[in-house]
């Protein structure tokens, strides 16, 4: 504990490293002030290595090291773990990619790319700002993963080492394939159109008969990769659909592409015409553009997190008083482990030694730590705040109270099949109608003029190819997704918008979802404190690292602080000291007032204060509801069935009834399993459920629900697996988002109508057997472009009107 504190100065002192306010000028180098020794150390490391450019790129770019805990990275010597972390190694040179969530400014990029100056074993490093990752290439002989991680940690960029994060590479590979396909299709479409120009302008009358077939054969050559490579996804998807007896939208598309291609081949080889290869390649090109537009992903967000990404990858094991590290997966029942300040408990355990303040915010969203004493059971997912504790595990990691949730079958397969997607419902009928028209036209011409029957049949199939139909959905939903993203509502894929538009019931979690986690309300009840007294209190709590002390510290905004003498901290009880001749005590009721009162209201935490042995009152720390809750709820409750699930006791019930009406189902004391079952029950009575939650305890319900949205104070923080992540600041727009998803659906329907009109025009040519390549080449891109333009422009216009842009 720091005892001799200088009296603070009123002007604002900014830490040169991290930009946070400094309490005094105590920690400095020359004229540069630092808020804590951690920041100073980072500066020293950078300074001795001539890396002070870091501070010139962005102002105060560093990360505060004030609350930093000493970490132990010994587990990085475990070969099995290393194997899983690295990307590639040849025994000498190794590449490894770390996720660095702290990346936030250009200085970060600069320092991450200049790591080689800090460790000569590092050959090169490359940062990716958007993905917040850094790839490091290093020499095995000169350095190791462990020393690199320690280096990164020492300058404030601690890598996120959970093993579940390694999946991002796979998705980027799929994305790359799409880029290749779009390149090939665009290239072929452009060139074929160029070679088809003589045909469009009827230049073949010029008498160059030997040129025409050359153009045609070149067209075939260019169209081959488009047909076999770029369009292959559509054939595969159509085949898969048909095998499961589903006529998805790719069926009529594939049919159209195949017919276009074969008829063109036939025409060219039989020299009866020049084919429709230009239309075909352009069609594929447009379709892939649509796909790309729809495939927008948020690189830094992860929607598939399970408990593994929250948990540490290794723990400190104590055996015969010797500390060793062990990967979490190998943890066994009965192992004694050491949990240090800020570390997460990986399995249900019993407290053996030490004083535990368990912060269950990952699990329940509740951030006020719970005190535990020896012999108490601590659930996995709790984070220890304060000094190190020793615990003995009583359950396996996967069998712990919380993690058992992931064994539920809801996690095995989420029905991401496209059966319920609107466009596929339409396409079924569409395909049937098109086939009917095609064959009746063929049948009619077979009797009237049999030579035209084949022409009419193929022409109908070509022109009816639902290119515009297939494009309207990705563009309407893709723009909606971007609009949501701008409003800090990030969804996993565009399907979610369609699902969101059809929900009938909304389930809220209480803690952390409709209450705020960060700005827990702290207030003083009792005789009002004078400014002088509040300075005394602030001076006292400053010396304590207890989380509640920090909250009280932040309650008073005063910079003047006093020296304290005779500081005492009794763990679990309170703190006391003599400041300016007055005895100040802060702590539990027993500690401060010497009498215990059993009928305590457990909802809010109380901290008592006495000055010179007279009790002055108590601080209450309770959660507050989100500021816009009333407005959001009143706009929702008339349309949807609302329910509230809370893991807490029901003493907030009366407060909640001010916000919700009598029809709202409220359930308290809900376990994670209860929540999941509740959602399941609702779905059994044909409700489409939107679950809004935040903690890991909601993970089951989020997964089970039709749409699961997780609320996050900081979207880059951990959030459980879900369909969408909503920034807490945009919580007030929840209803607007749902309404807008309905608008998007209407826009899709309108686009369908437009594309049907084009189809009818085209069909009128086709059934007459007079579809020429020129008409097809004009009509198809025209319909596609107008549908794309319509859906994109209207979506953005409506978003603007609704205040989303």
């Amino acid at each position: 504990m720091r005892k001799d504190e200088k009296i603070g100065v009123a002007e604002k002192l900014i830490c040169y490293h991290c930009g946070e306010e400094c309490n005094d000028k105590e920690i400095n180098i020359g004229d540069k002030l630092f808020c804590c020794n951690g920041c100073k150390t980072v500066y020293e490391i950078l300074d001795t290595n001539n890396l002070c450019t870091y501070y010139n790129i962005d102002e105060n770019p560093g990360l505060s090291k004030r609350d930093e805990i000493k970490k132990n990275f010994d587990f990085l010597e475990d070969n099995e773990l290393i194997e899983r972390l690295i990307d590639f190694t040849d025994g000498k040179i190794t590449t490894v990619t770390f996720s660095i969530p702290q990346t936030h400014c250009s200085s970060c990029i600069w320092i991450l790319e200049n790591l080689y100056k800090l460790d000569e074993g590092i050959i090169s490093s490359e940062a990716n700002f958007l993905k917040k990752i850094v790839s490091i290439k290093f020499d095995e002989a000169k350095t190791s993963i462990k020393s690199i991680v320690i280096l990164l940690d020492s300058i404030g960029y601690e890598p996120d080492l959970s093993l579940a994060e390694k999946e991002f590479e796979k998705s980027s590979l799929i994305n790359k394939k799409l880029w290749y396909k779009i390149g090939v299709a665009g290239f072929a479409a452009g060139n074929i159109m160029l070679f088809s120009f003589p045909e469009y302008l009827s230049l073949n009358e010029l008498g160059n008969d030997e040129i025409k077939p050359v153009f045609s054969y070149l067209n075939i050559l260019f169209s081959l990769p488009v047909f076999f490579y770029s369009a292959s996804d559509y054939f595969i998807s159509a085949y898969k659909g048909l095998r499961e007896k589903i006529v998805n939208v790719d069926v009529p598309i594939s049919l159209g592409i195949v017919v276009l291609f074969t008829r063109s081949l036939y025409e060219i080889f039989s020299q009866t015409g020049s084919g429709y290869l230009d239309s075909m390649t352009a069609l594929v090109f447009f379709l892939i553009i649509g796909k790309m537009f729809q495939n927008k992903t948020y690189a830094t967000l992860n929607f598939e997190r399970n408990y593994k990404s929250y948990f540490p990858i290794a723990v400190t094991l104590i055996k015969n008083k010797i500390e060793t590290t062990k990967p979490v997966e190998k943890l066994e029942v009965g192992d004694r482990i050491l949990i240090k300040n800020g570390e997460l408990l990986p399995a249900d355990s019993i407290l053996i030694n030490g004083l535990a303040f368990i912060d269950y915010s990952f699990v329940t969203g509740e951030s006020n730590p719970v005190e535990k004493i020896n012999g108490d059971l601590i659930y996995a997912g709790g984070r220890q705040v304060g000094s190190a504790i020793e615990v003995e595990t009583v359950k396996d990691v996967s069998q712990s109270y919380l993690t058992r949730l992931w064994n539920n079958q809801a996690f095995e397969n989420k029905d991401d099949s496209k059966i319920d997607v609107f466009v596929n419902i339409i396409s079924k009928y569409f395909t049937i109608v098109v086939l009917l028209i095609a064959f009746s036209a063929a049948f009619y011409w077979f009797r009237a003029d049999s030579s035209l029957a084949f022409n009419a049949l193929t022409a109908v199939l070509i022109i009816a190819c639902p290119c515009a139909l297939a494009l309207s959905t990705p563009f309407a939903l893709g723009s909606s997704m971007r609009i949501f993203g701008r409003n800090k509502f990030y969804i996993k894929s565009t399907h979610i918008i369609e699902k969101l538009s059809s929900i009938t019931s909304i389930v809220f979690d209480k803690t952390g979802t409709i209450t705020e986690t960060q700005s827990a309300n702290i207030s003083f009840n009792g005789e009002e404190l004078s400014k002088y007294e509040s300075q005394l209190v602030k001076s006292l709590v400053r010396s304590s690292s207890h989380p509640l002390s920090k909250k009280i510290f932040n309650l008073f905004d005063s910079n003047k602080l006093f020296d304290i003498i005779d500081y005492k901290e009794i763990p679990g009880q309170g703190i006391s000291a003599i400041i300016a001749g007055k005895k100040i005590q802060i702590g539990s009721r027993v500690y401060v007032t010497n009498n215990s009162n059993k009928d305590e209201n457990t909802l809010s935490t109380k901290v008592f204060l006495s000055i010179d042995n007279t009790v002055r009152g108590f601080f209450t720390i309770s959660n507050s509801y989100r500021p816009n809750l009333k407005k959001v709820i009143s706009s929702l409750k008339s349309v949807y069935k609302l329910s509230i699930l809370s893991g807490d006791t029901d003493n907030e019930k009366n407060n909640l009834q001010n916000y919700f009406d009598a029809n709202t189902k409220m359930k308290f004391n809900q376990t994670p399993f209860d929540k999941l079952n509740f959602v399941e029950q609702l779905q059994k009575v044909n409700e489409k459920v939107l679950m809004v939650g935040d903690g890991l305890n909601d993970a089951g319900a989020l997964r089970k629900s039709n749409v699961g949205i997780s609320i996050a104070e900081n979207v880059n923080n951990f959030s459980p697996a879900c369909d969408g992540i909503l920034d807490a600041k945009s919580f007030n727009k929840l209803n607007t988002f749902i309404k807008f998803s309905k608008t998007s659906k209407n826009i899709i329907i309108l686009s369908f109508i437009i594309s049907f009109i084009y189809n009818i025009i085209g069909l009128s040519f086709a059934v007459q057997g007079t579809l020429s390549p020129v008409i097809s080449a004009i009509l198809m891109p025209l319909s596609s472009i107008s549908v794309v333009a319509f859906s994109t422009i209207t979506t953005n216009m409506i978003a603007k009107r609704k205040g989303l842009l």
Partner: protein
Amino acid sequence: MSVIFVLIGFSSFVAIMFLAAYIWAVKTGQYDDNYTPSIRILFDSEVKKESSKSNS
């Protein structure tokens, strides 16, 4: 008029070269990160002198 065959061959060759360049660009990851390089280019190259301490 037969010169047109030469021209077609030549133009196709140029076009295919561009396609190849595009595929190479995708393959080497030039489209993976389209933000970081825009910052990286603004970093000053190292000044060898010791006098870079005075500015803040």
